[in-house]
């Protein structure tokens, strides 16, 4: 691995990890409010399709991004409806959402395969992109990646220092205590679900608007599930999400580069790397005893009051 190849790999890791980063941040936000949303994969796909269609029809990539976020929130709202209002089991509802989202995106998206949209192009930042090594890795990407750099610290600050952030966390830790303190628990949970949905939609839209300018059925290829796993790895902290997302993006990019360099390892084994790494990461997190850092009321539905 020459230095140039290593830098190229790290830059590719950032690019490849960005959709995972958006989705992970979204899921962190939702889980912090106490709601488990396993439908990330389905939401990402709907976001990707919506972004693709809108950007293609309007010719403005930003509209596509916004549409992706909006549709992501809409699908997440279904999960909210089933769990927060109808007391449906959160695990099963999330799974059903994945099936539904995948099905809907394939159903409507089949007509768009093989077409191209306008999207976000590379935008090297002046001055910053000229820093040796770091500039190549971090500052020669498209605007959505730059946005994600800001998003993680923003979320961290929000959760830690703002009144609403603290309220959200309280609701996730102990809804009963939060309600006693006068917080509107249901409102916070809905906010968690919807904002999470928007971010997951952004993650999906990134795939069809920036990473490529194309659409296919199943574009996210399992990244949604990796995001769910990463939330545990990051101990529900947005800061670590960046590390985790780029690590996974790197692994996905790495196995391809290994082939390009001429390895004799069968590709089936190389393809196992991201998934094996996910398990390893989970084992490591639990072994360090941090699995219990989850919001205490995660996944528990709140019974409606009489």
């Amino acid at each position: 691995m020459t230095p140039e190849l290593t830098i190229a790999l790290l830059a590719a890791a950032v690019q490849s990890g960005t959709p995972i980063l958006y989705a992970t941040l979204g899921e962190i936000f939702t889980e912090r409010a106490g709601v488990l949303n396993l439908g990330v994969e389905g939401i990402m796909l709907i976001g990707a399709l919506a972004g693709f269609i809108v950007a293609k029809t309007t010719g403005v990539p930003v509209y596509g991004l916004l549409a992706g976020g909006l549709c992501g929130a809409l699908l997440a709202a279904v999960h909210g409806l089933v769990c927060l209002v109808f007391q449906g089991n959160q695990v099963v509802s999330g799974l059903a959402l994945t099936i539904l989202g995948t099905g809907l995106s394939s159903f409507w998206g089949t007509a768009f395969i093989g077409q191209r949209t306008v999207g976000f192009e590379k935008l090297p930042l002046p001055l910053l992109s000229e820093i040796p090594v770091l500039g190549d890795i971090f500052f020669q990407h498209d605007p959505l990646i730059y946005l994600s750099y800001l998003l993680a610290p923003l979320m961290w600050a929000f959760l830690r220092y703002t009144r609403w952030g603290l309220g959200l966390r309280a609701v996730g830790e102990s809804p009963a205590a939060a309600a006693a303190a006068g917080l509107r628990v249901l409102a916070y949970r809905w906010a968690g679900v919807l904002v999470g949905g928007v971010l997951m939609g952004f993650g999906g839209a990134y795939l069809s608007l920036a990473y490529t300018h194309l659409w296919t059925n199943g574009l996210s290829a399992g990244r949604g599930w990796i995001a769910v796993a990463l939330v545990i790895f990051t101990f529900w902290r947005p800061g670590r999400a960046i590390l985790g997302a780029y690590l996974f993006g790197g692994v996905m990019a790495f196995q391809l580069r290994l082939q390009a360099m001429g390895t004799t390892l069968p590709s089936s084994l190389l393809l196992m790397l991201p998934y094996s790494l996910t398990i390893a990461v989970l084992v490591f997190s639990s072994w360090r005893g941090r699995g219990s850092e989850a919001p205490a009321a995660l996944g528990v539905n709140i019974e409606p009051r009489e």
């Binding site: 539904l100 394939s106 996910t278």
Partner: protein
């Protein structure tokens, strides 16, 4: 005047059935609307769906054939769900089972059927069971969440299948396409009479009955049910939670493994990547819809198998995209989940100051 929600003293019993059919009808309605949006005739579409699924003897045979793997996987998943263990790994356990069965069939081709078939089933159960034990051990030893582990093991299991089939097990006569040699006749689960159904149906009936007996009549089964309902109380009562977890996941994996074995042996007569048809995921939907009861699992498995078969008819006659079936599966599950609300709660109009 506003809507008030009150918890029922007792959950509706027969209401569960009503909820289920209501949800089904709602999903059909939404799906029909989707068809209409695409410009396809909605009523004809739904009729084609039913015709394709149950409209002829061949269709019913096809449904039964498809229902076999779904049923076995769902049975396993349901057993795990009873203990509140989220086994989403039926797909990977299915793959491992198929690999195990293929290993037996390809390594001992000369064994007579009386020995080879049981060996294949044994190998499939061991392989699938092992794949189910991994997340169980991690959960017990390190408190690792089984949802993610089982899901990741799905992907890894399928890749292991591909690795064998593209590599050491590839049939030299297949012109380089990824598939194993055709299994020897002794390794194939035969057809029932002149129909296209195979004896896997009997395996399903046997397993269903056995699990029903196990859950309902044995002490271990009782402990399972009790632990599932309240884990803390169960632990306090010194029920062997750890052992139950291991048992349940091994059983779950073994059942899914048998599904894989039957598909490889009875349906495909060889191992190839296209054996993976998403039965493991449909099984999760079935297990949940059927409220974890073996008889209901059979019915639900048949229904969802019918959905898959019926959707093909839709494709052929109306050129509806293949993903339509997935949409219906997702919708049915979501509406049933939401509908169950009415089983436990009731809505009433009340004046604000009414108690």
């Amino acid at each position: 005047m506003r809507l008030r929600v009150t918890k029922r003293q007792e959950p509706l019993g027969w209401g569960a059935c009503l909820v289920f059919f209501g949800a089904l009808a709602f999903s059909l309605g939404v799906s029909a609307a989707l068809l209409a949006l695409q410009g396809k005739p909605a009523f004809i579409g739904i009729r084609l769906l039913f015709e394709g699924a149950f409209g002829s003897r061949w269709a019913i045979e096809d449904c039964l054939l498809k229902a076999v793997p779904i049923f076995l996987c769902a049975l396993g998943v349901a057993v795990a769900f009873r203990l509140q263990i989220w086994n989403l790994g039926a797909e990977g356990q299915f793959a491992l089972g198929a690999i195990g069965a293929s290993w037996a069939a390809l390594t001992f081709p000369a064994l007579p059927g009386g020995y080879l078939l049981p060996l294949m089933f044994l190998a499939a159960a061991l392989a699938g069971g092992l794949w189910g034990l991994v997340p169980a051990v991690l959960k017990l030893g390190l408190r690792v969440n089984e949802i993610i582990v089982t899901l990741m093991l799905n992907y890894i299991g399928i890749l292991i299948l591909e690795y064998k089939v593209y590599g050491a097990w590839k049939d030299p006569g297949s012109f380089g396409f990824p598939m194993t040699r055709e299994f020897p006749a002794a390794a194939i689960v035969g057809n029932i009479g002149a129909t296209r159904l195979n004896w896997g149906l009997l395996v399903c009936l046997g397993c269903g009955a056995a699990i029903a007996l196990f859950l309902g009549r044995t002490r271990l089964g009782y402990e399972l049910k009790a632990s599932g309902e309240n884990i803390r109380a169960a632990r306090y009562a010194r029920l062997p939670y750890g052992r139950l977890v291991l048992l349940v996941m091994a059983l779950s994996g073994a059942l899914a493994g048998w599904a894989g074995c039957l598909e490889a042996s009875g349906s495909l007569h060889r191992l190839q990547p296209t054996i993976m048809a998403g039965y493991g995921y449909t099984a999760i939907v079935v297990a949940w819809l059927a409220r974890l009861n073996p008889l209901n699992i059979g019915i639900a498995a048949l229904l969802l198998a019918g959905l898959r078969v019926g959707v093909e008819n839709l494709q052929l006659d109306l050129q509806v995209p293949a993903a339509f079936g997935q949409i219906m599966e997702g919708l049915i599950l979501l509406t049933v989940l939401a509908g169950n609300f009415f089983k436990d709660y009731r809505l009433r109009w009340r004046a604000p100051d009414d108690a």
